[in-house]
């Protein structure tokens, strides 16, 4: 070795350098603002969710047991989601820059594993701590226990989240070809077992299922965490059982960490999923669905292109998963009886559904690829409308059953009362709100979406622009859908001077809302097309 040649840094040194610079690169001003926003939204969501849960508990006379069941189920979903992301290679998320500069440096794979796990845990804890504490404070208030009990309960949940992250990383590492086929079969059996036990609480909802099955979930981190956290905020004493649960949760954490360290000794880089694939130029997803062009009109090909793209980029799968969560949430909300006591609270759900669509649409922008359309003889306004149609159709297909499942029983319950028509009107309005907000998302993406070729703004400034756009978009979308919400309110509390029966008023309002939606969407989408033409950076 030549004189003065750099030597391989010590393990702790490499890990600390990696963490320091990754943090520097991640925790930008814009990222911190996003975290604050995310935390605020999470706190609002938790406030709403916990209120629903507690209303449900009061209505059906169930207390601690139900809270534990609900938390166990929620954490089980998180655990299964993490394990699933582990299988897709995202258990240890890496960027293209990591591949180019960290994987080629003389740093041991286990050091990269350690640094990644530490930084992911740190950011998860940073993000999750305030919402967690808020949740347990709310529960402690409800149960009338000391508020400080929220702290250990929150810490137990954070330990669960970190354990889940490490388990997800372990699953990703186990994809490596150096793991033998027999071990892989064993891993698959184990994962299926964990998933099955995780969702066991759902089975307990079936009448006649023996309640003795419940404690089985407590062998998993999700069940253990639920038992510990709810036990603490419910005024549980530090019994042997609680200590044993705590020890078992720690054992899960230590075991998964040790397993990860052991597996990360070998070369595992090839199994990792690069998060910023654009930079790597690679693509993800199968090519099962094929774009057929023969004998078809250009507009139908355009719609199909969008549908195929959504399928290959797994966007459609994301829609299904999100709508499933939304369904479960809305059904619980409905069972809790909140709709019955206030039919207009359906409006909140309308906005929730609408935000779901808007968020999905605002990510749309073909960026530089739009040159293909801009340099063709195609009508850009029509192009945007067709793309929108292709994207809104699956969204509405997924949301319609959710709305019907929740809304129809409500309507039947309210039958014969004036509020029934408000509920009835709220059903199509929910879908109209989603469609309008998705149109709003397309408009904002067309007008403000950053092109990747634009190198004028620095990446941090770009992120700040995204934050501002998100806020602006939320407010403007609210304004756009407020007439639809107003129509539902009008039906719920009809004004006497209108001299219309509730049924007739509902028909008039429905026609009015459909007309408004059509007019607004056409304007939004045409304006989107005009903005794309006007922009020189696309």
């Amino acid at each position: 070795m030549k004189q003065g040649l750099p030597t391989q840094p010590a393990a702790w040194r490499s890990m600390s350098v990696l963490m320091r610079y990754w943090l520097k690169g991640r925790l930008t001003r814009a990222a911190l603002i996003w975290i604050l926003f995310g935390e605020s939204f999470a706190v609002v969501g938790i406030a709403f969710g916990s209120q629903t849960l507690l209303a449900f508990s009061s209505k059906f006379g169930v207390t601690q047991g139900f809270s534990e069941f609900a938390l166990s189920l929620l954490l089980a979903f998180i655990l299964v989601g993490l394990l699933q992301s582990g299988f897709s290679g995202s258990g240890l998320p890496v960027t293209a820059a990591d591949v180019d500069y960290v994987f080629t440096a003389p740093v041991r794979p286990s050091e990269i594993f350690g640094a990644k796990v530490l930084i992911n845990s740190l950011t998860t804890v940073l993000f999750s701590f305030p919402p967690m504490i808020f949740l347990y404070l709310r529960l402690a208030l409800y149960y009338g226990t000391p508020l400080w009990s929220a702290v250990p309960a929150g810490l137990a949940t954070l330990l669960f989240l970190v354990t889940g992250l490490v388990l997800s990383a372990d699953v990703t590492l186990s994809l490596s070809s150096s793991i033998g086929p027999r071990v892989k079969v064993l891993r698959n059996i184990l994962i299926v077992g964990v998933a099955a036990i995780s969702i066991l609480p759902v089975v307990l909802l079936i009448p006649g299922t023996p309640a003795s099955l419940g404690p089985i979930t407590q062998i998993l981190p999700s069940g253990l965490t639920a038992a510990i956290s709810i036990g603490l905020v419910n005024g549980g004493t530090w019994s042997f059982g609680l200590a044993a649960d705590g020890a078992l949760l720690l054992a899960w954490f230590a075991g998964s960490l040790l397993l990860g360290v052991r597996m990360s000794r070998g070369h595992f880089y090839e199994v990792l999923q690069v998060t910023d694939v654009g930079a790597q130029g690679s693509s993800e997803g199968g090519t099962g669905a094929q774009l057929q062009t023969t004998g078809r009109s250009v507009w139908s090909v355009i719609r199909d292109k969008e549908a195929v793209t959504m399928r290959r980029t797994k966007e459609r799968r994301g829609l299904i998963v999100s709508s499933l969560f939304l369904s479960v949430f809305m059904i619980i909300y409905s069972l809790a009886g909140t709709f019955q006591s206030s039919p207009t609270s359906f409006l909140f759900i309308l906005f929730l559904i609408g935000s779901f669509g808007s968020g999905n649409a605002s990510g749309w922008l073909e960026k530089e690829r739009l040159w293909i359309i801009k340099t063709s003889a195609l009508d850009i306004r029509r192009y945007v409308r067709e793309v929108y149609l292709a994207r809104v159709t699956p969204l509405l297909l997924f949301l319609t059953p959710v709305t019907v499942v929740v809304g129809v029983p409500l309507f039947v319950e309210e039958l014969g009362q004036p509020s029934a028509f408000a509920v009835l009107l709220a059903l199509p309005s929910a879908l109209e709100v989603a469609a309008v907000m998705m149109g709003g998302g397309v408009y904002f993406a067309s007008r403000y979406g950053q092109s990747t070729a634009d190198e004028i703004l620095s990446s941090q400034a770009q992120q700040l622009t995204d934050v501002k756009r998100f806020l602006y978009q939320t407010v403007v979308n609210l304004v756009l859908v407020s007439p639809l919400m107003g129509l539902v309110l009008l039906e719920a509390q009809p004004l006497s001077f209108l001299l219309l029966s509730p049924a007739l008023l509902a028909v008039v309002l429905l026609v009015g809302s459909v007309g408004y939606t059509y007019w607004l969407l056409r304007r939004l989408l045409n304006a989107s097309g005009d903005w794309i033409l006007r922009r020189e950076d696309l």
Partner: protein, 244 residues
């Protein structure tokens, strides 16, 4: 000085053979030009040498260190410029270079000196505190070149270092590669720019469909391709790859 020795290297991806029994050596201080059509396996070969990918079979040694058995020892000796380098865009140029130097084990004082000198050489001193994400393509490429040499490696692996650069930056990179050769570095250079290969490479390796088609100096390749004595490298290349 470093050398690269590749023996019977094969790389398969789910049944697709990217490299098929490739053997090749790059002697100490040599500049070897690796040319071939798109998808020939050049980048895969380079990613195995730098330790991103693992061979399915065969061995790769850098100065005698097996990249699979002793990856850290091999990586210490290698500098790498990827095709389309992905840099940490949220770090400043200074931070990025310090990061790369640190994880490559360069001492603090040396790192300070090297960063300042390199930025001056590459005319990037005024960009030291700019975010990498705000740089132009040419500037980013210069940062990638500096990053590859922060630890003063014996071996340089350059994967398409001239892609999408303007003529001025291309000329700069030409000069830089030439200077590395003069400094006695061992260089494995993959490019579609045959002019640079003709000008600087001491040996040329033509790779196609995962196999080495031909190797040697320009004269030897002309004979192999049965081309005239004044045939340009692009003519020789087309002749040698037309049947494969």
């Amino acid at each position: 000085m470093g050398d690269i020795s590749i023996e019977a290297l094969t790389k398969k991806y789910d049944g697709l053979v990217a490299l098929d029994d490739v053997s090749l050596t790059v002697g100490s201080g040599e500049i070897v030009g690796l040319i071939g059509p798109n998808g020939a396996g050049k980048s895969t070969l380079m990613k195995i040498v730098v330790g991103i990918l693992r061979p399915t079979s065969g061995t790769v040694r850098v100065s005698g260190h097996d990249v699979v058995q002793e990856p850290e020892a091999a990586k210490t000796l290698v500098g790498y410029v990827p095709e389309n380098p992905s840099l940490y865009t949220a770090l400043t140029v200074n931070e990025f270079l310090r990061f790369v130097g640190k994880i490559r084990g360069v001492g603090d004082q040396e790192l300070e000196k090297k960063t300042v000198e390199s930025l001056r050489t590459f005319s990037l001193s005024d960009k030291a505190d700019s975010l990498v994400g705000s740089l132009s393509k040419g500037m980013k490429q210069k940062v990638a070149l500096i990053a590859a040499t922060m630890h003063d490696p014996d071996v340089l692996i350059l994967d398409e270092p001239l892609t999408a650069l303007d003529p001025k930056t291309q000329a700069f990179v030409h000069g830089w590669i030439s200077s590395q050769g003069r400094a006695g570095k061992t260089v494995l250079l993959s490019t579609h720019n045959l002019e640079i290969v003709q000008d600087y490479a001491t040996r040329i390796v033509i790779i196609d469909k995962g196999s080495v088609v031909a190797t040697g100096g320009l004269e030897g390749l002309r004979k192999l391709a049965d081309a005239s004595g004044d045939a340009r490298l692009d003519e020789v290349f087309l002749k040698l790859t037309e049947d494969t």
